[in-house]
């Protein structure tokens, strides 16, 4: 479509460069491009995006898809938002870090670790956890669908002052 020439152009460039690793690439509407990516290619694609002018990683959305855990990287040149989706198995969720290209993403990656339990390979050691509290259980991940607020409240005496 000539209507979305710029979007189609970046989509086909990514497909040409990363061939087998990219699937379901889609121009959703003006200024929105979505694609799925094999996780091992993530740092390489993010470096390519940065060099191509998509130098602002707006945020990373973590998502519980059931069998897999997903992370959606929203990179933008402030006009076109390219959302790169990667998946990692729930049994052993690990994703490579993109800090080499986007050093500002450190809080987004910490959030993936804390909220969904996706281990991010390549985060510097010695960082405090974010965004959860220091004494929040280390093996519970609130944004997973099987984590229920009611259960957490029920087993935590802090929330029941009348029971003291």
């Amino acid at each position: 479509m000539s209507e979305f020439a710029k979007e189609e152009k970046v989509k086909s460039e990514i497909e040409a460069k990363f061939g087998g690793a990219v699937s379901n690439a889609l121009v959703q509407r003006k200024n929105r491009v979505w694609l799925d990516l094999a996780p091992e290619k993530l740092p390489e694609l993010m470096a390519w995006l940065k060099a191509a002018g998509y130098n602002h990683l707006a945020t990373v959305t973590g998502f519980d898809e059931g069998e897999n855990l997903g992370a959606y990287y929203h990179a933008t040149d402030t006009r076109i938002i390219i959302t790169v989706k990667v998946k990692t198995p729930r049994s052993n969720p690990v994703l490579p870090s993109v800090l080499k290209s986007f050093p500002g993403a450190v809080s987004y990656e910490l959030e993936l670790q804390d909220m969904l339990g996706i281990k991010v390979d390549g985060l510097p050691a010695g960082l405090r956890r974010y965004p959860l509290d220091e004494d929040f259980p280390k093996d519970e991940y609130p944004l997973r669908k099987d984590w229920k607020v009611e259960e957490y409240i029920a087993k935590n005496p802090l929330f029941k002052p009348e029971a003291k």
Binding site: N55, H56, L57, T61, Y72, T78, I81, G104, Y108, W147
Partner: protein, 397 residues
């Protein structure tokens, strides 16, 4: 000289927002800084998954005290995109009006805080007095000073009448006059320049690398503004300048915000004088068909971005919110390194991390047709009585 590490915050590092900075000092000079966050995590993204789209509107409004309209507008743009709703043009214009009034209120508040942090308390008193005018505008239009709740699915909740329009324009005219004085002050007063120049430097390449947004990025010469880059609401029809400055320091951030005020006044008048006719809302179904979308918005502090995924029910599958301050905090650590301890509050305040305010309420009795204004003491008394009825006694506290 030996190094010493001191914590700054989480209690009131510069503003009332809890955040912690670990500063490595060599004498009075900072040789390293790390930012620690998460003291205010409220689990809103999880909470949003258990609420309907309309309930979420009121939850999202409370993400931030000042950017309440920014967050709901971003959220609602996503919901309307997924529901394929055709929002009436008059509603979009009214949302734009509120967005710019909110920017004025936020920037005036910031000017005051900046004045306070640089030891120029007269400026703080002046701008906060003048800020009351824009809060009055918001109250006049929506009934509320801070959480305006003007947005609803498919449009806005209240229309703008001719009297309201006149009331807003009268106040904006006063603010234009005052702001011209502040711009003169910010750009010509030697003490302001001496205190803010070369403080909290952020070169453009670092700003891009660390993902800075909003006035913080624009003061480093980066022309980044969602209103221009991907116009939403009715910004593509409005005439306004994208303000940038190239000094990369707190002085630049001061000038950018002061000049942006002028652009906002221009837009407010333009919107009010050209309000399109027509309805202010359309109906949006309770259930939203499965889909996903991402939208951004230029909040007073910078780019605010939301991701929304729907699953065919009346509740979202996933809502992701990234507020502008989170994007800017990575730059703050850089700004502080190599600087002086005494500059820290000014540097932190210069990205305008947010805070909220409200301590009064008006109760209207429709049966008696009476209005009563409750002050802090009365509200406190009422709440103590209410808890007493439930068996909890706070009266001795």
């Amino acid at each position: 000289m030996s190094k010493i590490t001191i914590p700054l915050g989480p209690q009131h590092p510069a503003l009332k927002e809890p955040e912690n900075f670990m500063l490595v000092l060599e004498g009075e000079q900072i040789s390293g800084a790390t930012v620690n966050l998460g003291y205010n995590h409220r689990g809103m993204e999880k909470a949003a998954e258990n609420r309907t789209y309309i309930q979420n509107l009121y939850l999202i409004e409370r993400v931030c005290g000042i950017c309440s309209h920014s967050h709901t507008t971003t959220y609602i743009t996503n919901v309307e995109e997924l529901a394929k709703a055709e929002t009436p043009r008059r509603a979009l214009a009214i949302r734009t009006l509120f967005a710019e009034l909110e920017r004025v209120h936020s920037h005036l508040l910031w000017l005051g805080v900046a004045g306070y942090e640089m030891g120029f308390e007269t400026l703080f008193m002046y701008t906060w007095r003048d800020r009351e005018q824009v809060l009055d505008c918001l109250e006049l239009l929506s009934g509320n000073r801070v959480h305006y709740s003007i947005n609803t699915l498919g449009g806005v909740r209240r229309d703008v009448s001719a009297e309201q329009k006149a009331g807003v324009i009268k106040r904006i005219d006063y603010l234009i006059e005052r702001t011209n004085y502040y711009i003169k002050l910010a750009t010509e007063e030697p003490t302001v320049y001496a205190r803010t120049s070369k403080v909290g430097m952020l070169p453009p390449d670092v700003a891009i690398e660390r993902g800075a947004v909003g006035p913080t990025a624009r003061a480093s010469g980066i022309a980044r503004d969602v209103r221009k880059d991907e116009p939403y609401l009715i910004y593509n029809e409005l005439d306004f300048k994208l303000i940038t400055h190239n000094t990369n320091d707190v002085f630049g951030r001061l000038v950018v915000r002061a000049l942006e005020l002028v652009e906002s006044y221009k837009m407010i008048k333009e919107v009010l004088n050209n309000l399109p006719e027509g309805p202010i809302a359309v109906k949006v179904p309770m259930r939203i068909a499965p889909g996903e979308c991402v939208n951004h918005y230029e909040a007073p502090r910078g780019e605010d971005i939301h991701y929304l995924k729907s699953n065919g029910t009346d509740k979202p599958e996933r809502l992701k919110v990234r507020a502008p301050t989170l994007a800017n905090l990575q730059s703050v650590a850089y700004m502080m390194e190599g600087g002086w301890l005494a500059d820290v509050p000014l540097v932190i305040a210069a990205i305008d991390p947010c805070m909220s305010c409200t301590d009064r309420a008006v109760v209207w009795d429709p049966k008696k047709g009476k209005k009563q204004v409750y002050g802090w003491e009365e509200l406190r008394k009422l709440s103590i009585e209410q808890y007493k009825r439930r068996g909890v006694d706070f009266s001795r506290l």
